[in-house]
Structures are given as structure tokens and as C-alpha cells.
């Protein structure tokens, strides 16, 4: 073509014009910390594993999840998922059902027989773990992954600790628990059951352990002073729950009063309901003040558990108890009213909390115990005695499975560092991806997927699992509800919305890169990034 001078130009020749020089601020990609991750007591990279689940790669999701927490199936049932309260999606419609996806992944792993690989290299160090509960087994898993030789000793006959003796079957089927415990043992962890450790120092010495992690849990039910006749049958909740696991079911009669407002109280009440009894919970404060999770109270009520709110037991007698009505004072504390009532009660179950059996620590130098009866530890979870670490219910913290699992991981990392004569330094936390950093427009309207519930008749009469799992299609859907807060999920928005084609798409999994030769710094990519994974930085002039 004989192109006329100046009037007719060659295609795309404007690439010679580097408009990047116009810029006064530049966009940069970053990863912010999703609020769910920030919240997770077990330190799971929730957004990270959901990302894999979104694409249907459940094994990758499960492997990503279990980098931090090996108990996906258990977590998916018993974790109180505070992550969901933190979830930014809750400000759009409803939080992502993280817990249900986690359970789906855990169940998939069991169904498909996914295993953890043994470590590639052995460190030659030996670590003793006391307690095969969530914290101990979590620590065992992480330490084993790091190449250490791990022995777990537990006084009980099964792995699982309080997960077995404190959580009813209808919430955590035992085959699930067994599968996830066994998977850790299968990594080459030695588990010695029915092996109570009475003296830790001796045990370490005799076994040539380089370090120990103590996670014996809180198994001793607290008693309350209730005036009672000899005929009154008063038992503690943990014993009741433990006895559910064995052949000899507890003999509690038809009318069972459960005293307490925590999750354990609910667990007991619902368990005895399933055994054909008529449980009544007596609690001194109101429903909204009860420490038990509201959904558990709700489920219990649905199943026919009766509750006497604002009531204390004044006296327990033969087949009946006397309760006193309470009223809340200005500060929200219950105060006696002098009004009494008599209830029929074949037995009273006390669900007032648990204490730790610290017998194995007798005589350990440097070790300190708090006034609450738990072991003092540093931020590295090491006790006052070098090389002995502790976690779970036996240290000062919130008592739940997830916290315990988190302790296991944290302890493992610290033990690993300590064994090498180092101090574990956690990587700095990214800034949290607050809702304000997101552009929620881009998320399609998608209310939370409701997990199926067992129908009420079966719930009242069997120990079948109450809450069903998601099937693949709706687990996938639920995973895809994740906003991926603060972390690029390759939505191509920045690539698309740049008026200057100044974003280079690097291909699947490789994210994007700015072409600062042409980026004029308009900031549209930042404004339109759904998940807040780009920020503007002033150019140095």
C-alpha cells in the first residue's frame, strides 16, 4: 500500500507513546489477610483452600486446608466457625458456609482415602505428646510433617480425647473421628493408648524424648454444692457423655435435669433425649446470656428439650428438685427472687465446666499453674520448664476443639524451632482485608446454602448425625460464594477495566502484572477490584 504521508498511519503504532509518564500514583498488587483467616483459631488459610474448592479441585483444597489443620471432617462438624461471623460476605447477604465446605472436603478425603505423606527427611529428634485429643494429635501431625519422631500417649482407650468423650455422636460420628485420627497415626506417629503418663519428666527421660507437648484436656467435671438427699442421683456431665461411648449406658431415669447453660449441658440434654428420657435444662440466666451456641439451643428446643431459664437448683431430693426463680439485676447478674418451684427429677446432671488433671506435672521444676488450675505458658506455648510445651484445655484459653487444634500447630512450630536451638518467628500478618476495601458489586447474588437437617422424629430418637453435609454441587456453590477477600482470584477485572491495556494477564494461576509503560494511574483497577487485592501507591516524583 502506498500510504499517503501523515494522513494514513500504521496500525497500533501508538505503542511508541509511553503514557506511563503521566502517572502520579501507581497501582500495585498485594495480598491482604482475609478476615476469616484472621479469625481462625487454627490458623487455617480458609480463603486459600476455598479457592481450590471453587474450581472443584477438592483434593488440592483439602491438602491446602490440612497444611494448617488435619481435621477437616471433624472441624466441619464441631468447629464453632467464628470465621463465618467475620466473613465479609455476611455484609452482602450471608456469610460463606465455610464450615460446611470444610466438612465436605473432610468427608471427601475420607471417602477417597486421601492420606498424608510421611516426611521426606527425618530430623532424628523425638517428641513426646501427652494426650491424643485435638491439640495433641494436631501437634503430632505438624511435628511429624517436620520430620520428628513422635510418640503420643493417652490414658484412654481411643484417640480423640474430648472429641470422643465430650461431643455426642449425633454431632460427630465416631467413624469420622476415627478416620481422621488414624490418618495421623498412619504418618508414622506412634500412639500408645491406655497409657497414662504420671510423671512427665520420668517419661521423657525413659523414652529419650527431646521435647514434650502436653495436651491432656479438662476431664474432671466441676461439682456444685447442692443440698440433696441421699436418694438424689447427681452425676457430672462429662461422666455421662463418656459413658455414652461405652456399653453401659448411664441410668438416669425418665426425667433428667441438666444443670448449666453451656454447650456441654445442651449435649447432655440432647443425648438423653435420644435415649428416651425427658431432659430439662435449668440455667440461672437467660437464653441470650447462655454460653452455649444459640444454634445448639435452638436445635435442642426443636428436639423437645425443655429449658427453665432464670432458675437455680436449691435442693435435690428423691425424684424431685426445688428450683428458685431468678431475676437479672441492672448489671445483668441473676439475683434470687424467693419464688420456688418443684420439678420432677429422676436425676440431676451437672454441666458446670471441667477441670484439668495436672497430676503428671507434679515436681516439674519451673512449671507454674494459674489460680484457675491450668498451666502457665508463654506465647510460644512453652511452660516454665524448657522443652515442655502445653496446649489445649490445660492452658489459659478458650476451650474448644479449634483452639486446641491451633495450639497443636503453634506448639509444633515452636517445638521444631526450639529443637534446632532457634526461636520460631511467625511471618508478619498482612493487613486485614476489610469490607471497605472490596467492591461487592461484582459478587453475584447467592444466599448461603442451607445444610440439610435430619428430620425431627429421627433426631429425637436416634444418634444419627443431625446436620447433613453438602453434596458436591452445593459444596461447590458454597465455595464459590467466597469473596476471596484481599487475594486475587483472577476475575480479570483489572485486565478488563484498564482503559489503557496496561494490565498484562499472565495466564491461569499466574495472576497479572502492570505495564507501567502505559499505566496512567487512573486507579480504575483498584476501584473495580472486587476483592481489594490492588492498592495505589504514590509515585516518587
Amino acid at each position: 500500500m502506498q500510504k499517503p504521508f501523515a494522513i494514513t498511519l500504521n496500525p497500533g503504532s501508538s505503542l511508541a507513546n509511553h503514557t506511563g509518564s503521566w502517572r502520579t500514583a501507581r497501582p500495585v498488587y498485594l495480598d491482604r489477610l482475609p478476615p476469616c483467616n484472621n479469625q481462625c483459631p487454627a490458623g487455617e488459610d480458609i480463603q486459600g483452600w476455598l479457592f481450590h474448592a471453587e474450581s472443584g479441585n477438592y483434593e488440592a483444597a483439602w491438602r491446602h486446608l490440612t497444611r494448617d489443620n488435619p481435621f477437616a471432617a471433624i472441624m466441619g462438624r464441631v468447629c464453632y466457625h467464628t470465621c463465618e461471623s467475620a466473613c465479609n460476605r455476611g455484609k452482602i447477604d450471608e456469610a460463606v458456609g465455610i464450615n460446611s465446605v470444610e466438612r465436605f472436603l473432610g468427608d471427601e478425603a475420607i471417602k477417597r482415602g486421601w492420606k498424608f505423606a510421611a516426611p521426606e527427611k527425618e530430623s532424628g529428634k523425638k517428641v513426646l505428646i501427652v494426650g491424643a485429643g485435638p491439640s495433641g494429635m494436631s501437634a503430632a501431625y505438624h511435628l511429624r510433617k517436620l520430620g520428628h519422631t513422635v510418640t503420643v500417649m493417652d490414658a484412654g482407650p481411643y484417640m480423640g480425647g474430648m472429641m470422643r468423650f465430650g461431643i455426642p455422636k449425633y454431632r460427630l460420628p465416631r467413624e469420622v473421628l476415627d478416620a481422621e485420627m488414624q490418618r495421623i497415626a498412619d504418618m508414622g506417629v506412634t500412639v500408645r493408648l491406655n497409657s497414662k503418663v504420671d510423671n512427665i519428666l520420668e517419661q521423657m527421660k525413659s523414652g529419650s524424648f527431646d521435647a514434650a507437648f502436653l495436651a491432656v484436656g479438662a476431664h474432671i467435671g466441676k461439682r456444685a454444692m447442692i443440698p440433696s438427699g441421699d436418694a438424689a442421683k447427681i452425676v457430672d456431665a462429662i461422666s455421662v457423655l463418656r459413658s455414652m461411648e461405652g456399653e453401659d449406658k448411664p441410668m438416669l431415669g425418665r426425667r433428667v435435669v441438666v444443670y448449666g447453660g453451656g454447650n456441654t449441658a445442651i449435649d447432655v440434654a440432647r443425648s438423653v433425649k435420644r435415649m428416651g428420657a425427658e431432659p430439662i435444662i435449668v440455667y440461672r440466666r437467660t437464653r441470650d446470656k447462655a454460653p452455649a451456641h444459640d444454634f445448639e439451643i435452638e436445635e435442642a428446643l426443636q428436639e423437645g428439650v425443655m429449658v427453665k431459664w432464670l432458675s437455680t437448683i436449691k435442693q435435690a431430693g428423691d425424684h424431685q428438685i426445688t428450683i428458685e426463680k431468678m431475676a437479672l439485676d441492672d448489671k445483668g447478674f441473676p439475683q434470687p427472687t424467693g419464688e420456688f418451684e418443684t420439678l420432677e427429677a429422676d436425676s440431676v446432671v451437672l454441666a458446670l465446666g471441667q477441670d484439668v488433671d495436672l497430676g503428671l506435672l507434679n515436681g516439674v521444676p519451673g512449671l507454674e499453674v494459674t489460680k484457675d488450675g491450668v498451666v502457665k505458658v508463654g506465647t510460644d506455648l512453652m511452660t516454665g520448664h524448657a522443652g515442655i510445651f502445653a496446649g489445649g484445655d490445660m492452658v489459659p484459653a478458650e476451650r474448644n476443639v479449634t483452639v486446641a487444634v491451633g495450639h497443636g500447630k503453634k506448639a509444633a512450630r515452636n517445638i521444631d524451632a526450639w529443637l534446632r536451638g532457634e526461636t520460631y518467628a511467625p511471618p508478619p500478618k498482612h493487613e486485614v482485608a476489610q469490607f471497605e476495601k472490596l467492591n461487592p458489586w461484582y459478587y453475584a447474588d447467592a444466599p448461603k446454602t442451607v445444610r440439610p437437617m435430619l428430620d425431627i422424629i429421627r433426631r429425637q430418637s436416634t444418634f444419627e448425625e443431625v446436620q447433613g453435609g453438602l453434596d458436591e454441587s452445593n459444596a461447590l456453590f458454597e465455595a464459590r460464594r467466597c469473596l476471596s477477600c484481599g487475594n486475587c482470584f483472577e476475575c480479570d477485572n483489572c485486565y478488563g477495566v484498564c482503559p489503557d491495556n496496561a494490565v498484562i494477564k499472565l495466564g491461569p494461576g499466574k495472576r497479572f502484572q502492570f505495564n507501567y509503560d502505559y499505566c496512567k494511574g487512573c486507579g480504575m483497577c483498584v476501584a473495580e477490584c472486587p476483592c481489594g487485592a490492588i492498592k495505589m501507591e504514590a509515585e516518587e516524583i
Binding site: P11, N17, A444, P452, S473, R480, N493, V497, D500, G523
Partner: protein, 338 residues
């Protein structure tokens, strides 16, 4: 499972440009690593230019739909000036700029030439797009546009509407919204800004020509825009797509707010997004999060005189009435419309 209660299943979806989870053929053109970038980097549009964005969206989609058999005619205006100052052009497609007011006719000529060449066995089946701003379309180029429409010439005309003559320094066009400040409708006197009761909505006029396809779109709804361009390219005869492209300069908005402004225009109903075939309304893009027009007006400096100490409540109400009328006329809140 029989004992389990029924689970509701919700369809997932996304409003983003891309979605790594979709099959490649279901992804937007803009998400493609191999997209044409018909309007390439190095152009001299302002930061955050809605027109530059809209043009690339539309022309890339048209290139995709026609397997890159596309020629474009361009009216004088921002798009032309920022894309083709000697010695560089940003266009990667055969492109011609003739005048301000004749783009539709130039495109007609190109289409005629292509038709003859094809008849003679000398040429391929090439599609023609004409494009211009609102000034070049609704004002000075309107005669040629109407002529192209009524002859049903085989041209897709795309109007990038930013509501004024931005290239010459933000003067009023017949697409300037009521009450907006421009250099020729200053916020002075008893009726500050662009007077009510003036202006025209060319998509409706295009519909009156009963041409095969008329659609409106915004840069905030990429998938919708691309679908419309793709649909238009699948048809023959005169087609018209009117795309709202916010102008940070003329609207007095932040450069990063361009897409947001387009979204607000659509969500408030002040700019109806719909499509029509042969003069009949076929569908409208439903408002997702209904908002009062104030949300759209407030961030724009061209409407700043409506706010401040003594908000022009009546004027805002009149603008709201315009939006309400759109909502009624185009069924923007009906579920079926989506």
C-alpha cells in the same frame, strides 16, 4: 438422603470481567489473553476515560464476533483525536476518520464497497462499524445516521455517549442530561445548568426507524455490552448501540470512578439499558440494587450546584421523575426483564 430435607440450590454467577471457572468460550472477550486490543495502549485519552474503555470493549467484541473481519469509521471527537494523532495510531483494525457529522454515511459507503467487492468475488465478508460520540451522533451526525437507518444499510453504529462535547471543552449536546453544568449551560440564572425539556434520546429515535436492532449499554456491564455487540454482529442491516461512557473531565468525577458512575446511572434508572428489535422493546437489564438518583448525581461536579447548603430538592425530584419514567417505560424493575 430421603430423610434429609430438600436443599435449595442457587445458581452461581459473576459480574466480573472474567471468571477462571468458566469454560473459555463462555468468558468475556475482554478476559481473553488474546483479545484484539483493537484500541491499543499509548492512546492519549484522559486517565480513566470511559470512551476509551467502551470503544475497546465494543470493537474487541465486534472483532471477536466477526473473526476479525471488521472495518471501522470514526467521527471526529475525543475518540478520534486521542487515538490517531500523527504520527501514531492506537487502532489495530482498518479504520477511517472522515468528518464530524458523516460517519454513518462513510460507513454506508464502506459497506456498499464491500458488498460489491464480494459480489465480484474480489473480497471477503467484512462487517462495518461506525462510531462516534454523542455530539457526532445525536447532533451533527444525526442526518446521516437517520439516513443510514432508514436505508437499513449494513452498518452497526455505536454511539459513545458521555453527555457533551468533551473534546472541545465540555459544551452541551442534545445528549447532555437535564440540569448538568456544561461550558454552555452554566449553573446560573433561574434554571441553572442544562434546561429541562430539551435533548433527545437517540435509541428511542433509532427504534422509531424500526431497524433490526437497537440496544443501550454501559461500560459497567461488560458482559451485557459484549453480548449486544455480538448479537448486533450476527444481524445484517442497520443496527445501533448506544453506550454510556462516563467522562471524568466533563462529569467532574474521579478517574477511578468511571465504571462506578456508569453503574450508578444504570442502577438509578437514569440510563435505561435495554434492547429492541425492529422497533419493539425486547428486554431490559433489570436494576439490581435500586438507588435514588441522588446517589448518581452527588459524586459529579457537573451537578454540584444541586447540592451544598441549599439543595435543589425540586430539581433532584424532577431528575428522579425522569428515572422513574425510564423504570416504568422500560420495565427496569421487572424480574422478567432481566
Amino acid at each position: 438422603m430421603s430423610a434429609l430435607q430438600t436443599v435449595k440450590f442457587y445458581q452461581t454467577g459473576t459480574f466480573t470481567v472474567g471468571n477462571r471457572l468458566l469454560a473459555p468460550e463462555e468468558r468475556s472477550v475482554q478476559a481473553n489473553m488474546q483479545r484484539t486490543n483493537s484500541l491499543n495502549s499509548g492512546h492519549r485519552a484522559c486517565q480513566g476515560c470511559g470512551e476509551a474503555l467502551g470503544a475497546r470493549y465494543a470493537i474487541d467484541a465486534a472483532m471477536n464476533a466477526t473473526n476479525r473481519q471488521l472495518i471501522a469509521a470514526n467521527a471526529t471527537g475525543c475518540l478520534e483525536v486521542f487515538s490517531t494523532p500523527y504520527p501514531e495510531t492506537s487502532w489495530q483494525i482498518p479504520w477511517i476518520h472522515s468528518l464530524f457529522g458523516n460517519t454513518a454515511a462513510v460507513a454506508t459507503g464502506i459497506a456498499a464497497a464491500i458488498k460489491v467487492k464480494k459480489q465480484k468475488g474480489q473480497g471477503q465478508d467484512v462487517c462495518v462499524v461506525a462510531q462516534g460520540g454523542d455530539g457526532g451522533t445525536t447532533d451533527i451526525g444525526f442526518g446521516c445516521l437517520s439516513g443510514m437507518f432508514e436505508r437499513n444499510d449494513d452498518v452497526l453504529y455505536i454511539c459513545y455517549d458521555n453527555g457533551g462535547y468533551m473534546n472541545t471543552g465540555v459544551q452541551r449536546s442534545s445528549a447532555t442530561p437535564s440540569a448538568a453544568r456544561t461550558a454552555t449551560t452554566m449553573p446560573l440564572g433561574p434554571e441553572p445548568g442544562n434546561p429541562f425539556g430539551q435533548g433527545k434520546f437517540v435509541p428511542a429515535i433509532a427504534m422509531a426507524h424500526e431497524i433490526p436492532y437497537v440496544a443501550t449499554a454501559t461500560v459497567a456491564d461488560l458482559r451485557d455490552l459484549e453480548n449486544k455487540v455480538t448479537k448486533a454482529m450476527s444481524l445484517r442491516g442497520a443496527r445501533y448501540i448506544h453506550i454510556l461512557v462516563p467522562c471524568p473531565l466533563g462529569w467532574g468525577t474521579a478517574s477511578h470512578d468511571t465504571i462506578r458512575m456508569a453503574r450508578l446511572a444504570k442502577e438509578t434508572g437514569i440510563f435505561p439499558v435495554f434492547e429492541a428489535e425492529h422497533g419493539e422493546l425486547k428486554s431490559a437489564l433489570a436494576i439490581r440494587r435500586p438507588l435514588p438518583v441522588e446517589e448518581y448525581l452527588r459524586p459529579q461536579k457537573r451537578f454540584a450546584h444541586l447540592f451544598g447548603k441549599n439543595p435543589a430538592v425540586e430539581t433532584i425530584a424532577r431528575i428522579q421523575a425522569q428515572a422513574d419514567k425510564n423504570i416504568r417505560r422500560y420495565g427496569l424493575l421487572s424480574k422478567e426483564a432481566a
